[in-house]
Amino acid sequence: MTTIAPEAGSPQQGNPELRALLRQVDKKRHRVDRFMKGLVYLAFVLAVVPLVSVAWTVVSKGIERFNAYFLTHSMRGVYGGMDAGGVYHAIVGTIEITLFAALISVPIGLLTAIYLVEYGRGQLARSVTFFVDVMTGIPSIVAGLFAYALFAVFLGPGVRMGVVGSVALSVLMIPVVVRSSEEMLRLVPNELREAALALGVPRWLVVIKVVLRTAVAGLVTGIMISVARVIGETAPLLITVGVIDSINYNLFEGRMMTLPVYVYRQFQQGLVPCAPDQANCIATITYDRAWAGALTLILIVMLLNLVARLVTRFFAPKNFG
């Protein structure tokens, strides 16, 4: 390929053929390199565009109705294009159902993580690890169907109550809690465990007083992020908890409204047909409420993520692992 004779060119002035070789070999290869670099940057931009668009529309369209009235009133007695109605009942439902889901998931998830990190050996541990990963892939609608089927088998068909939704959400939440807790527990240095064991502290107290205490910031963060993950679930709640316009505080009786379902419900009702001379009728009221509901939901999710990050930042032991 290179055909220059070694004797060619005088070293003092610089070998012109070598100079040519070193300057630029192949324009095409460099064009391909630059093109691919462009594509890679483009890919990133392509992903940011929908993110910005979603954030912008939710904020700009939702801010209009997002006020104290909206947050403190339910949809009871609201009909047609009335300039009224709020999201209070949905916030109540979302908080209760999600908290109860966390109440189910956190002990199971945390204990499973403890099992995997502290005790897990052999076949059982391996299959638990594997199927926890598989469980993260269960479609949310299937989790909803499962919760419905579970309660229907024992309580008869047609059950609609908050706790069914909590069970559905916990199916989705448990694997996330296990994963994040496991990661955090593995960060606790082994020397800490051995030191405590060597002092004659029983194993279970070591786990609770040393391991969990050390990892507590990470565990809280992981749990909050898993709550944020399921709080936006819509489909399972739609089929297990149903929809309602008024406030229901009781998880164990009757339908409840939740924020994501509220957004869907408002969207689904579509534009309101307003008579031309009708006062107090806004044609787009349902969409407006949907956007405001979406803003409320996103704010809650972001708040959870933010607090989770702050917890890690301020409470994490500084010299870890």
Binding site: A47, L124, G137, P139, P157, V171, W291, M302
Partner: protein
């Protein structure tokens, strides 16, 4: 401080090892070094682990129980009794187009998402300045934090009007291509729009997994390529992509699993139909299993619910296969890289 008095609970184990046969069982108990509260705690933790497996089995069992009335009933009787099946000749005939629609939407989403995800993963692993990389990764993770119902709202009210003229143009100019054939929808509430939203939704998981494997590429191989006079892209093609291939495949399958099971984006955007149709620009052609369940469930009678749960069982089976396959690839990869 711990090293001087290392093995915990030496007493009983040491003494019993001197005695033959009889105390062997006691010795095993002593080796796990726990009694009373410690043992109870260990069993509690192990029980929680086992519960995960039981839960997965329970999902399948309860779905089968509630789907059984519809599955076991003779076709003609079921068709007569269940309003949902008015245009179908049997349960299979009902599920078929739904599976088709689900797979079509998810496949299209995957085709859009995978190249972009690989691009973003490379961007954060090999192109972006080190200090920015993790922040940019966090931006992509934000996409995963947006609830699906918000994506549905955005897709239906914002994206659809924007893409409609594009779809109309595609239909007019590239209409000979089977996917773009048919009568273009004036509202763009069609499968192609759905696929784009699904692609955005599965982007974070595919990106995250791909990025992990790209970052694991041995520095040795990257330098070998560069030292041969490779440009950055050629280095990526020679060292990074071959190394990360199986990881990207499993990432794509995880994304596929998500796309198959996603409900709200399809439910809120797509104008549904029950055909084996490839016309992704035409309204009223396809529907996905998940969206169909969410749409029909609230108004269904007990036998209708049973029918819908049967379709849900099919979705569960499909996603289970996809996820198990994806996770198996990831797990095998882990073994492989550990052995090196």
């Amino acid at each position: 401080m711990s090293t001087t008095q290392s093995p915990p609970a030496p007493g009983p184990a040491a003494t019993s090892s001197l005695e033959p046969a009889g105390p062997r069982r006691r010795r095993r108990g002593a080796r796990s070094s726990d009694r009373g509260a410690s043992r109870a705690f260990r069993w509690l933790a192990t029980g929680a682990g086992a519960l995960i497996l039981i839960l997965l089995v329970a999902v399948a069992v309860f779905l089968v129980i509630k789907a059984w009335p519809a599955i076991s009933m003779p076709s003609d009787e079921l068709v007569e009794k269940v309003g949902l099946l008015r245009n179908s000749s049997s349960l299979l005939d009902y599920v078929g187009p739904l599976i088709f629609g689900t797979v079509l939407a998810a496949t299209l989403a995957l085709i859009f998402a995978v190249p972009v995800a690989i691009g973003i993963a490379l961007f954060t692993s090999h192109y972006a300045p080190r200090r920015l990389a993790s922040t940019l990764g966090y931006v992509i993770d934000l996409l995963a934090a947006v609830p699906s119902v918000v994506y549905g709202l955005w897709g239906a009210l914002v994206l659809s009007p924007i893409v409609q003229p594009v779809w109309a143009w595609l239909n007019e100019n590239v209409g000979w291509f089977p996917l773009f054939a048919g009568k273009v929808s004036p509202t763009a509430r069609v499968l192609l729009t759905v696929a784009i939203v699904l692609a955005v939704m599965i982007l974070p998981i595919i990106t995250a997994v791909s990025r992990e494997v790209f970052l694991q590429t041995p520095r040795l191989h990257e330098e070998a390529a560069l030292a041969l006079g490779a440009t950055r892209w050629e280095m990526i093609r020679m060292a990074v992509l071959p190394f990360g291939r199986s990881g990207v495949i499993s990432a794509a399958m995880l994304g596929l699993g998500r796309a198959l099971g996603e409900t709200m984006a399809v439910l809120m955007i797509l104008s549904p139909g029950f055909l084996y149709s490839f016309h992704i620009l035409e309204a009223g052609q396809q529907q996905s299993i998940a969206a169909n369940i969410a749409a029909q469930f609230p108004e269904a009678d007990p036998l209708g619910v049973s029918t819908l749960i049967a379709t849900g069982l099919a979705l569960f089976a499909i996603t289970l296969v996809v996820n198990v396959a994806a996770r198996a690839i990831v797990a095998r990869r882990k073994d492989f890289s550990g052995a090196n």
